[in-house]
Subunit: 221 residues, 2 copies
DNA sequence: TTGTGGCCCGACCGAACGGTCGGTTAAGAT
DNA sequence: ATCTTAACCGACCGTTCGGTCGGGCCACAA
């Protein structure tokens, strides 16, 4: 029936174009805010053709999310495993997370939406459950990392799950904040140096909060 | 939940009913995700009557946001002014911000939406500009607080605007995270003790990051 | 008594929504 | 030469969208 992932590299065309366009529009205006007509037109084909590639708007949206999580896992996966102290590994994971968010401006917005929106999406859709699983796995990876650092005495005994919430806010929200964030920070959020600075700021905040006594260790990247 | 109007006359007031209903629905599913018919029905009157109270869906949404910012200013305003060390004042502001988010579960979601969504709303609408002004003022208040703490040598020389982004993420996002957040933390986000714990966690993270002991712990490399 | 104005309604409007249907190409495969 | 199939399309479907319109009801002022 549906051989979704079987065709690989040799597809330059419509399907990917639709995904690209949908990713951008959905990120900016949300699932309910974008119509399939608009997507089809922007992708350069008719609405009927769009429905030829994706059986419904739902599955198109989920396909977009799927690609997003592919990219995130690609960036974070290597960072979570590997050697080093807990602090080093957490910092590497933060770098990876920020890289994932900065790769495409659409990523943080779609992730943020999928995190806080009580989705209108069908719960039964297998693609939906699969995405939840992947998200859970990522969270679990981070959680274990923090827990290990606390158990080994390297970190203060913070609640790891609260720290994860803060971390998500500091990374995902920052790069999702669009006009507001740019007005606040004063520069484009996705310029290479702005991304590098965000990494520095987040890591230094994680490392020693606002306290001066933490000393000014500039860990270069 | 009717807040201020309930002390007054026995009128539940259709207008307020509409605002209450709209606030809850918009918070959950966003501006584009909610139709005026649904709102009217949930408020117990007809669509035409809704349009008698609010000239368009836009102004209804903006009226909802307006109430939200009223509440936030009520909570944070006093905290920003007042005496004490910079750290004390920042912590008081964080308490106020979290109180504002925890007062109604709708608040953080609507704030988050208004921060990261490139709104479909008319830029010219005066109500829209007014909300932007109020947001700017809040940000400016926080920013001055941090800047003063840094200048006085009490805080590390972090970039205050980055710290603000992190702070917003740690507070607004946390309480906006709904199902995801509850699954992660493991308890209802808005229970009194959960709110208190979040205050503690955020303040301790702000205070000394993940580092054990507020001092030393030099990281080489 | 006769407004008058606040509040409410059913009926209706054109546009847009997600989705279907039948049919037309063009490229391979048999 | 025929059959299959992926890709595409225009036309159409029923529903819902935000919004309008004309009028009904009722408390209260003149």
């Amino acid at each position: 029936m549906d051989s979704a992932a079987s065709l690989e590299s040799a597809t330059p065309s419509s399907r990917d174009k639709i995904l690209d366009v949908a990713e951008e529009r959905f990120a900016r205006r949300g699932y309910a805010g974008v119509g399939v007509r608009e997507l089809a037109e922007a992708a350069g084909l008719s609405k009927s053709s769009l429905f030829h590639h994706f059986r419904s708007k739902d599955v198109l949206y989920l396909a977009v999310l799927d690609r997003i999580f592919d990219r995130i896992e690609r960036h974070i996966g290597p960072a979570l495993s590997g050697a080093g102290s807990s602090l080093e590994r957490v910092e590497r994971a933060i770098d990876g997370l920020i890289d994932a968010m900065a790769e495409h401006p659409t990523t943080p917005r779609l992730v943020l939406r999928s995190l806080f929106e009580d989705d209108d999406l069908p719960e039964d859709e297998p693609a939906n459950e699969m995405i939840s699983k992947r998200l859970d796995a990522l969270i679990e990876g981070f959680s274990e990392l923090l827990t290990r650092g606390i158990e080994s005495g390297e970190f203060r005994p913070v609640e790891p799950r609260h720290a994860i919430q803060t971390l998500i806010g500091a990374t995902v929200f920052h790069f999702a904040s669009g006009e507001f964030g740019e007005a606040l920070i004063g520069t484009p959020l996705f310029a290479a140096d702005a991304v590098a600075e965000r990494k520095r700021e987040v890591k230094s905040l994680i490392h020693s909060g606002l306290n001066r006594s933490g000393s000014a260790q500039e860990t270069p990247r």
